[in-house]
Amino acid sequence: MGIIPLLLGITVISFIIIHLAPGKPTSLQQALNPKVSQEVRLRLEKLYGLDKPLRIQYINWLHKLVKFDFGRSFGDDRPVVDKILERIPVTLTVNILSLLFIIIVAIPLGVKSAVKPNHAFDKFVTIFVFIGFAVPTFWLALLLMNLFGIKLGWLPISGIKSLDFEYFSLGQKIMDYLRHLILPIFVSSLGGLAGISRYMRSSMIEALGQPYIYTARAKGLTENTIIYKHALRNAILPIVTILGLSIPGLLGGSVIFESIFALPGIGRLFYEAVMMRDYPLIMAEVVLGAVLTMLGNLIADISYAYVDPRIRYRKQA
């Protein structure tokens, strides 16, 4: 129940910060257009309620929020909720798929590295994932687009659908969608591989040094059983924390990445909202982010109990 005051605190602080930031929303839409007079700009400011004192603006905003009304965007006067909802599918698809990709690739990589630390394979993986981590996304994206899109002509470069998408059959549609997603998912996963595989490696090395592993070996269990049944289960705990914490990230996006691939995702929506001082939209995104972060923590806590019997049983006792 501590969640509500916390959420309230977050909104107060973010509300103050974005309003304290210099710049005004109405000046942006009609910036330096000689056809838009100052009287008109003042009138627009009034229509947006920006002439009222800040605390009144906040209270008005809060009044609407309790009714789950996030207001309308200053940019185009559409409900903020609609604007966010229409961006969620793309962001969520790309992020979930790349998270899955990261898990599927990074966990085995980490385990394999940990089994024989500092051997050739481990060193190769270390170099590879750190290169992936260090390479600037936009640069890699452009190179891959050039290679697969232009030189080889295998994959589309940008967007999530072809221009004739509506006229495709269902099968073609799915194929078209997947083909558009390959490059974005690969590029967005690459940076995440390093983190997860390194965490997995170190926590696995630690687990493999524990006394119960000696016991297991002494019992004559096969190496696979030891690694995957005994060590991995213990080693995976920190990874669960990290995955839990990446839940709010599922609805976040990178501006650069979305711009390069022309993906209509949340990252750019938020970025543009900030650049335009679109206060209702910024506040809605802040609330969304805050709620998801809390939710992520909660999920991480719950899944601890699931993966770690010690936590589960302690509660019952």
Binding site: L32, P34, K35, V36, D77, R87, G149, S158, M275
Partner: protein, 521 residues
């Protein structure tokens, strides 16, 4: 009769219907309610769907669009528009004077969030005389008012009961124009289809697809896969990256005048810049040709005032000052600026000549221009600092509050030369556009006379004189008029570049059947 048929036949054989054009744009539209559309993407799409009463022809003259013709009466106080008959909205409803009246009422409605009310608030009354005649009476003669009727007209029968700010019409518009709205996927694309009943004629190209690709490098890559048919180019792309065999084979490049110029504006409240000789000296000290060569790779022309050479208001007798640092030093010396202590910087009353140029973030070109100016001014002993500021902060904290010494900016101009808001001495309040604080009584008088005169010849004389005075006074250092650079797939036929650009005859563009890329309709 036979001859007539034959001509008709060969005509239809010559121009094929079909295909689509995919236009690449870095920004998505915000709204398709034309009187609310203030960004270029919205305006561009609205321009395909709607018509105004008047428009500019290829030579930048005002001609009728939804208006057949008009009369100007009572020394410019009254404009009577005779509307085109047999025009229909895309839903089949007839277009008429009531729609014009409705659009006007919405433009001046204080609850409608339109930025364009200014020109229409000068109207005293608008009467509908009959279904096809409208009488507009102005409070005082207002020549730019005629061009303001290029504003898209909206359908009364659909929007009458709607709140324009929040109407769903903004994403499902219905107009009178050559293209009908089909679909809009936010930040992906807007698709329009040809209006078979368009009052001029059905456009040859069936579909118009406005593709949103926020990254310029991605647009450039998409051109190479032919995923977009037309896009703007940077000077670098135009001069260095589009010379490949692929581009020569598939695309046609265009280099056309753009309607705008870049300038360095001085804060005339600043004692340094109050002296006209100082401003003239700075103009001699900066080599505009060099700026164009370095920052624009040659893709621009030296500006000689607030009008571009294609405008009828332009005075060709005003010749840009040459690059002459010696003359610059002389003028500065006359104004009392000399290097008395031999430290390399000019000084006066113990203070060295130093100022800061501010410009907005996100414009590489301007950052380069500022650096080149910094170097040239250093050569004559003036210390320049450059500050690059985020756009919103730049406007509200620096421009609106006149909190700057010199500002590097550009004006995007309309075709209508009236620039009262930029130069008249009454327009210096916070948020107004004479933010440099320019005041010249003769210019003030000429600006007012020019906007009261409908005769283009007479008006042009006023503007030519204004240009002369402004170039002499140098309240801005007029730098350059950049070229508009673009590329278009070469399967499109019927393009005739003209002073206004290439888009004016879009409905006549066509693609031979054998070369059409998008077959599905």
């Amino acid at each position: 009769m036979v001859v007539f048929l034959f001509i008709g036949l060969s005509f239809s054989l010559a121009q094929d219907y079909g295909d689509a054009i995919a236009v690449g744009s870095i920004g998505d539209a915000r709204t398709l309610v034309p009187i609310l559309a203030s960004d270029s993407a919205s305006a561009e799409v609205c321009g395909m769907i709607f018509n105004g009463l008047v428009k500019y022809d290829k030579d930048i003259n005002l001609v009728g669009d939804l208006a057949d013709n008009w009369e100007i009466k009572e020394e410019g106080l009254v404009i009577i528009f005779h509307l085109r008959r047999n025009v229909f909205w895309q839903d089949g409803h007839p277009f008429g004077a009531r729609d014009v009246e409705f659009t006007y009422k919405k433009l001046i409605d204080p609850n409608v969030k339109t930025p364009y009310s200014g020109d229409f608030e000068r109207i005293k009354s608008l009467e509908v005389i009959d279904d096809y005649t409208i009488r507009v009476t102005y409070k005082e003669p207002f020549a730019p008012g005629l061009a303001s009727w290029g504003m898209s007209i909206m359908p009364k029968h659909i929007l009458e009961k709607e709140d324009l700010n929040t109407t769903s019409f903004s994403r499902h518009p219905i107009g009178t124009g050559p293209y009908k709205f089909k679909s809009w996927k936010t930040q992906e694309k807007i698709e329009l289809v040809a209006n078979p009943n368009y009052f001029q004629h059905r456009p040859y190209i069936d579909r118009y697809i406005y593709r949103v690709i926020p990254d310029e490098s991605t647009i450039f890559l998409e051109l190479q896969t032919q995923g977009v048919d037309s896009a703007g180019l940077s000077p670098l792309q135009y001069t260095r990256q589009t010379g490949t065999a692929f581009f020569k084979k598939n695309y046609r490049k265009f280099r056309l005048p753009s309607f705008g110029y870049t300038y360095l504006g001085y804060n005339l409240n600043n004692p340094k810049f109050k002296d006209r000789r100082v401003r003239q000296a700075l103009n001699y000290a900066v080599d505009k040709e060099e700026i164009i060569k370095m920052a624009l790779l040659g893709m621009g022309r030296v500006a000689s005032g607030p009008f571009i050479p294609e405008s009828w208001a332009y005075n060709k007798n005003v010749v840009p000052a040459p690059f002459d640092p010696i003359r610059a030093k002389e003028l500065l010396g006359q104004a009392g600026w000399q290097d008395t202590n031999g430290d390399g910087w000019l000084d006066k009353d113990g203070e060295i000549f130093e100022f800061t140029i501010i410009t907005n973030q996100g414009n590489e070109e301007r950052a380069k221009v500022a650096q080149i100016m910094q170097r040239r001014l250093k050569d004559i002993g003036i210390k320049v600092k450059i500050k690059i500021i985020e756009w919103s902060v730049f406007l509200t904290e620096f421009i609106d509050k006149r909190n700057f010494q010199a500002v590097l900016l550009g004006w995007a101009l309309g075709r209508e030369p009236d620039n009262y808001d930029i130069w008249h001495s009454s327009k210096t309040k916070e948020g107004e556009f004479n933010f440099i604080g320019y005041k010249n009584e003769e210019v003030d008088k000429l600006l007012i006379e020019a906007r009261c005169t409908f005769d283009q010849g007479k008006r042009s004389a006023y503007y030519q004189r204004i240009q002369e005075i402004l170039y002499g006074d140098q309240p801005y250092m007029f730098l350059y008029v950049p070229d508009g650079l673009s590329v278009l797939h070469n399967r499109f036929q019927g393009i005739k570049p003209a002073p206004i650009g290439i888009g004016y005859n879009f409905i006549d563009w066509w693609v031979p059947k054998s070369q059409q890329r998008y077959k599905i309709r």
